[in-house]
């Protein structure tokens, strides 16, 4: 089962980064791959079990469900329900930790999934680079723009 782990340091206090990331319906405001985001059945974006529907910039759609969210631990977990790409049993975890030295943020993003034989490398690369590293870079820009 492929596992992807990516982490970075964001030059902003943990509370500010968490404010942006905890909004399960807000990724269209900062992630370059996401064009629009909506929560199904008009549920609140911090209701555990809510489902978000993304339209990606390439026109494809995917649905993800919020499995856990903690403001105390600054963590959330979610899974993919429907996707146009061969990612199955995809569960991801996001965790923020304060870097007290310099009032910065450590951001850890990891997932496990299954994919058909032969697709492991392409999917691992796509998740790690486009989704996670792309997300890190986008938040860094977002933090500078909204500073």
């Amino acid at each position: 089962m492929p596992r992807v782990v990516r982490s970075t340091i964001i030059d902003a206090p943990c509370g500010r980064v968490w404010e942006v990331l905890r909004d399960f319906n807000g990724h269209d405001r900062w992630h370059p791959a996401v064009a629009t985001s909506a929560i199904e059945r008009a549920q609140s974006a911090d209701k555990i079990g809510c489902v978000r529907r993304f339209k990606l910039t390439d026109g494809s759609e995917l649905r993800e469900q919020l499995l856990g969210l903690s403001d105390l631990e600054q963590t959330f977990s979610y899974c993919l329900l429907d996707t146009p790409i061969p990612l199955f049993n995809y569960i991801a975890h996001v965790r923020l930790l304060p870097v007290t030295d310099g009032d910065r943020t450590f951001w850890h993003w990891e997932s496990r999934f299954t994919t058909p034989a032969g697709e492991e490398r392409r999917m691992t690369e796509m998740v790690g680079e486009q989704l996670y590293q792309g997300g890190f870079d986008a938040i860094r820009r977002h933090m500078r723009e909204t500073a």
Partner: protein
Amino acid sequence: MARVYVSSVVNARNDRVWARVRDFNGMPNWHPAFAESRIEGGEPVDKIGCVRDMRLRNGDRIREKLLGLSDYDMFCTYSILESPMGVENYVATLRLTPVTDGDRSFVEWTAEFDCPPEREAELVTNIGGIFQGGFDALKRAFGG
């Protein structure tokens, strides 16, 4: 129960930083506050339960017991057996986590302990200062 949390970023891969800090008898090799260290009873430094007897540069003596060590998860947990600080039930953990973006290391040092309430603020500040002093030394050693 009082809690101390200090974290930083060291500009080197976590296996290189870990090689420097995993030695339970090696504090004087990297932490400027520590002058001497020896393991009691001639036990191996990575035997869980071994005790280090250290002398600080200011002359204080401190004895600490190794409670947990993992080369896989890169953490070290220990308790204080004897110190002049006046703390009870003191348990601390030093932990390394890779920062994949830029091949750096996220380093965390936490401690929990009991003490008289009027001494808590002072102890939290002093212990946090010792932890940050170690991180500053690691940052210097690894160039940032």
